[in-house]
């Protein structure tokens, strides 16, 4: 199919982009990688009045260090994330999850920021961002910038804290050093499919003890979810299959996953427990 007609703007700076969004009328869509937006427009499930294509806003691309943080430009493609040396050093969990997104051709176009703003709870990056306590740097018209923590960024199904007229500029995540182990444990029916459930786990070990744990759950609710109970149970615990299994048993606590063609809610909750055990086991180096 062919998308419905739309007005098209192709800014090259953030300021131009914000102006184009402001001038775009009632229904503006921001085209980042387009790998979700264009299919939806082809099926005419979306027919925006204006499309603001930010693929040429080069200032939004790339990964840099800022003290203890990695700063990932919203328009950095999945491919560039996977191949970035800083990500390889400090962002292994991001790399592992990004490698599972779609396929190589889609990863050449799809962007880190686009996937987060799309806020599909079945998408792989939101749970990772949440687990890492990412901070979302958002630009508004007139150059104003605000920072939103991940816990507040994902508001609902396909809904974020971005207001009309705003643009996600970059995402800050803490560097995880070599004392961290990570694992993105994804469960789907075929390689291309969205996650039925996935678990993003990062675990910091000191000797035989877990000192920090970050667990994010994909597709276990209308937004990504943090498995706080598991994290609490892990911190301070000795690294063993028993303690990990016991902690992971709490992975589904408080979740209200949906039922769809691939899984009913109770099965998703079961998977969350199994996959959390597997993710933490791997992340902890067991």
């Amino acid at each position: 199919m062919i998308p419905a007609s739309f007005a098209y703007a192709r800014p090259t700076t953030v300021d131009e982009a914000l102006q184009a969004i402001a001038a775009g009328g009632e229904d503006v869509k921001i085209l980042a990688g387009g790998q979700s937006l264009i299919p939806v427009m082809r099926l005419r499930l979306a027919a925006p009045e204006t499309v603001v294509d930010i693929t040429r806003v080069t200032e939004l691309r790339g990964v840099r260090e800022d003290g203890d943080s990695l700063v990932i430009g919203a328009m950095t493609t999945h491919h560039d994330v996977i191949t970035d040396p800083l990500i390889a050093q400090y962002g292994k969990l991001i790399a592992e999850a990004t490698e599972t997104v779609a396929d190589p051709a889609v990863r050449h176009r799809g962007t880190f920021g686009g996937a987060l703003v799309h806020a599909d709870p079945a998408g792989d990056l939101p749970a990772v961002a949440l687990a890492l306590d990412a901070e979302f740097v958002i630009a508004g018209l007139g150059g104003a910038r605000r920072t939103v923590p991940a816990t507040e960024f994902f508001v609902d199904y396909l809904t974020t804290a971005l207001a009309d007229g705003e643009l996600l500029v970059e995402v800050r995540v803490p560097k995880l050093g070599s004392d961290w182990g990570v694992r993105y444990e994804k469960f789907n029916r075929v390689a291309q499919a969205w996650s039925i459930v996935a678990v993003a786990a990062a675990v910091r070990r000191e000797g035989s003890r877990i000192t920090e744990a970050r667990i994010g759950l994909t597709n276990m609710g209308s937004t990504p979810i943090r498995a706080r109970a598991v994290e609490a149970a892990l911190v301070g615990a000795d690294v063993s299959l028993e303690t990990v299994t016991a902690a992971a048993a709490q992975a589904a606590e408080g979740t209200e996953p949906s039922s769809d063609l691939n899984a009913q809610a109770d099965y998703r909750q079961h998977l969350a427990r199994v996959l959390t055990r597997r993710a933490v086991t791997a992340a902890a180096g067991l």
Partner: protein, 826 residues
Amino acid sequence: MTLTEDPSTATPDAPAKEVGSARLRKEDARLITGKTTWTDNMVLPGMLYMSVLRSPIAHATISNLDVSAAKDRPNVVAVYTGQDFKDEQGSIPCAWPVTPDMVNPGHPSIAVDSVNHVGEAVAIVVARSRTAAVDAVEAIDVDYEPLPVVLDMEEAVKEGSALVHDHTESNTSYHFVFDAGEAGTGTDTDAAFDAAEVVVSRRFVQQRLIPAFMEPRSVVVGVTGDNYTLWSATQIPHILRVMAALTTGIPEHKLRVIAPDVGGGFGGKLQVNPEEILALLIARRLGKPIKWTETRSESLMTAHHGRDQVQFIDVAADREGNVKGLRVRLLADMGAYLRLITPGVPALGAFMFPGIYKFPAYRFECDGVFTNKVPTDAYRGAGRPEATFAIERIMDELAVELSMDPMELRRKNWINAEEFPFTTVAGLSYDSGDYEQATQAALELLGYDELRAEQARRRESGDPVQLGIGISTFTEMCGLAPSRVLGSLSFGAGGWEQASIRMLPTGKVEVVTGSTPHGQGHETAWSQIVADELGVPFDDVEVLHGDTAVSARGLDTYGSRSLVVGGTAVVKAAEKVVAKARKVAAHLLEASEDDLEFSGGRFSVKGTPGAGLAIQEIALAIFASHDYPEGIEPSIDAEAAFDPTNFSFPHGTHLCAMEVDTDTGFVKIRKYACVDDIGNIVNPIIVEGQMHGGLAQGISQALYEEAIYDADGNLTTGTFVDYLVPSAMDLPHFDTGNTTHAAPDNPLGAKGVGEAGCIASTPAVVNAALDAVRHLGVKDILMPMTPERVWRAIHQGGDGGARAAEGSNAYGGARTTESGIEEAAK
């Protein structure tokens, strides 16, 4: 691991043979460079594009249809509704009235005043561009008055069910029976069951599948005066020509149908599509060329689906494991209408339920049932995968009941090599084979004993990942088909095939075949055959097909028939060419015909070394025709039609080793090995490719694919996001092999290979998963075996049961019961 000698090896006395050699395909050059012609590539001067408005409601009357706004859109040439064509569109033809009293409600190409499935055409915009047509469709206003939606076959056949078609008495289209006792091919079935020591009954579900050929359907109609040319991405240009002429009233001789390169079909393009008829009607009305190309979501929603049966099967046996009787009752979902061979698909399967086993008694019954869904029709195997699944699944169930090894049970009952030809309880004469030989080879290929040992170790240790091995020892009927047999089954056409050979003056050869390929490689294989028969170079042969103006007679490609029937027609035509050339050669060489030998493309005179003529020289001589025998025509070209006397019966043993993660229900094929006997092989790489592709589709039925409708009759698996066609990551490596027992009923000795992998593999995969977890109490798992279903079957019993989504009708609550057949017998 072919167990025959390589026929391609040259000996001092005979030239190297093309047949049997691994020739690389001629077709590839244009396909790997992007230089081929797909129908959608065609552009004609003044061409208009049509876009179809489709019903979003499964069952409704159309109370208002306003196209005026669409007509006013820019670049729109015309907008049509069913009212515009109601007097000339006729009905999409159904060529297979399986019973004399079959109810065919008629199938309009475009709905006139009611719709019966989501996706049915309601209005058509014709515009100067694809974009303009698509845009204008959105401006059409339709009001529907919804009617009750009929989706579940088991509900649909109950007294008092809502009707799909209000002018029919029930939702049953036909009741088809084959009773071996009555046919004289077996004993009384009821008596066999009454006397049986053991009866095992099961209810199996063949889920609805979508052929999902990669090239979406596409149609272009060109108009020159009162002559029409229909290009279509079809498997059946010849059948389409006849049917389109009959349906539209365009005289057959004024209609030319061309199938250019066609991007896969798998039965899905064995159809007379509503859009083909509509494009012709519109081209006739406007006098302008018309193009229609579907989108993928349109294709999944409206191109015919496959399978969709509920099978009640029971088998009678004695305690020693000797089978005594087989009873099958099917509910087969027709969908809302009968398309080309919709009702015949289950009937074709009727004769294959006994499989390779010596059942003394057999009875088959099938109800064709209307529902408010897109019609079903042929999909790779068409009736035979369903039958093979049921028999191969229940043989495992019987083995469990008897505490026997499943292979031992099969051995005890299968036809032995020395018993061929063997007339089965269904009345078929199986031609040749050796099930034991194929089985032994497959067991070795799999590494059966080692995997069984590993299975025991995993079971012993309570490994969360359990291992199972599934068996499928199958046969199929191919080479469709002897025309008289098709006639006896009320099929609307014969099963012959046509070929002609044109000897060009420069020594090149044109072969015209009526068997139209869509990816199989006919051009290569037919060239190999002709190269051997005429002794001409492989590269000097051009194979022409798919255009009714070039290939006037043909019955096209389906049912693994091309090589067996169409290839044989090529052999027969070549024999005629040689016979005609022999007369000319004898004349020119001043020798008696009887003294001529033909070998390696050359006629030579026995006992006179050096004297001879190449067939190419004869072609040139007869082109000049200055000197040729009295009383013959000045041509050595020839034409032949071939009608087989029997089906062919490929067979094989397929083994699947499956890992089941009992924690998550995820299943993974560890190893897949199969050994197939498809008769003589013309081209081993093409054969292997056909096997791989068939395996992929059969495995995919077991694991991934299902067309799911919601409670309102909407297809929820309407894109490739939800209809899961496996990628390279989702399929295993296949280990394939062959045994060779030539088919006795055609000179090539070929049996057919296109459907084997698809027919055989599905039960092997399901049997493997069950073998892995049966000790945990699992008796059945519905297809596709989603992780959730496998997990539920292990941890909650039953067959994995209900599908998740609220409102889905995907046989969600169904449970396999031991008493299924009683329920079915009603």
